[in-house]
Amino acid sequence: MATVLGGITTSHIPAVGNAIQKELYDDPYWKPFFDGYPKVHAWIKEHKPDYCINIYNDHGLGFFLDRMPTFAIGAAHEYRNEDEGWGLPSLDPFPGAPELSWHIIESMVADHFDITSCQELAVDHGFVVPMQLFWPGAPHNPDMPKTVPISANTVQHPIPTLARALEFGRALGKALRSFPEDAKIVILGTGGLSHQLDGQRAGFINKEFDQYCLENIVSNPEELTKVTRMELVEKAGAQGTEFLMWMMMRGALGDDVTEITRNYHIPISNTAAGTLLLECAA
């Protein structure tokens, strides 16, 4: 059976892709952000996961408002990165793992999660930036795992509750651990932390709330399910609702985790950037 090694979270700000392309690792603006990743790289190099579950939120590339799945799971042989409207160069396709995708879909629907399966799915910065951060040169890093993207709706309310996100993660973890292959799996939860792009409150960041989330997601994620969706918008900002991806990731890890590294920095672009690596108990 497969093993879940752990989970890694990161913000997935579009500007990061640009900074990587320009190799701004030591630039004074970027250094405090990029300093969060060497320990992640070392951990990945040591454990070499075979599969990566990339939990992200689409921002208007893979899905539009004509059909907006609350939870969508990729089931493709590969995932194309495409122009998001800014004419930036796209990365080469990321290799999929449809056999694992369908195993997850079967298991989760059996566990009463009504998901949308996607045999074609263009992936945007929410998916791609974390891959570039964790596997430099992605998708051409020699250690690049095969991937299953999972996207949750944070574009249009009603969005899922934090409790549902955590439950989703638990069912996902169960599905992964029953995959009949001696494989190692890492789970990414991307997006966040606090930020708001729109309205008169644009630029809102909430360090205190982010710290509360970072503390509790490690050892007491259940506490966070008390936060209502409207409180999440109020305290994390309109786009800080991406924290749901972190909750989904966390649910899949099981109760017993060890924090390997953490980084938090304000601001990158309009966002409080957070990175966290949690290892599952053996």
Binding site: G60, D83, W86, H157, L197, D198, A202, M230, I266
Partner: protein
């Protein structure tokens, strides 16, 4: 469209909850912006803004908000920031420019505001 008798949200000053009501109101505007994912549509808009807005069936309020480059008005008219970001790209506005425009700050002032929250 309205749904009387039930309030799904709390009031968060300076924040528009993009829900079903807004999504229906802004559908044409957001559809046009979503289609800016393709370069040929960006070129089409740049060549003939009025004709392009007409083609997507934007209402007068939405058209005027775009003519005025008024981001807050676009949001009021049902625009969603993720789709509007593609339009902002055509206008060569960064997310900090957009932040400044919405909050009455220069881009530099907006960046300073972000840093002040560290």
């Amino acid at each position: 469209m309205d749904q009387p008798g039930y309030d799904y949200h709390i009031d968060i000053p300076g924040t528009t909850i993009f829900d079903g009501k807004q999504a229906m109101k802004g559908y044409a505007l957001n559809k046009m912006c979503y289609d800016f994912n393709r370069a040929e549509n960006r070129e089409g808009f740049k060549a003939d803004e009025e004709g392009w807005m007409e083609k997507y069936g934007l209402n007068e309020g939405q058209k005027q908000a775009i003519r005025d480059r008024d981001i807050l008005k676009m949001i009021e008219e049902g625009g969603n920031i993720y789709y509007l970001a593609k339009l902002a790209g055509i206008f060569k506005l960064s997310v900090q420019d957009v932040g400044g425009l919405q909050t009455g700050r220069t881009t530099e002032e907006f960046q300073d505001y972000l840093k002040s929250q560290a």
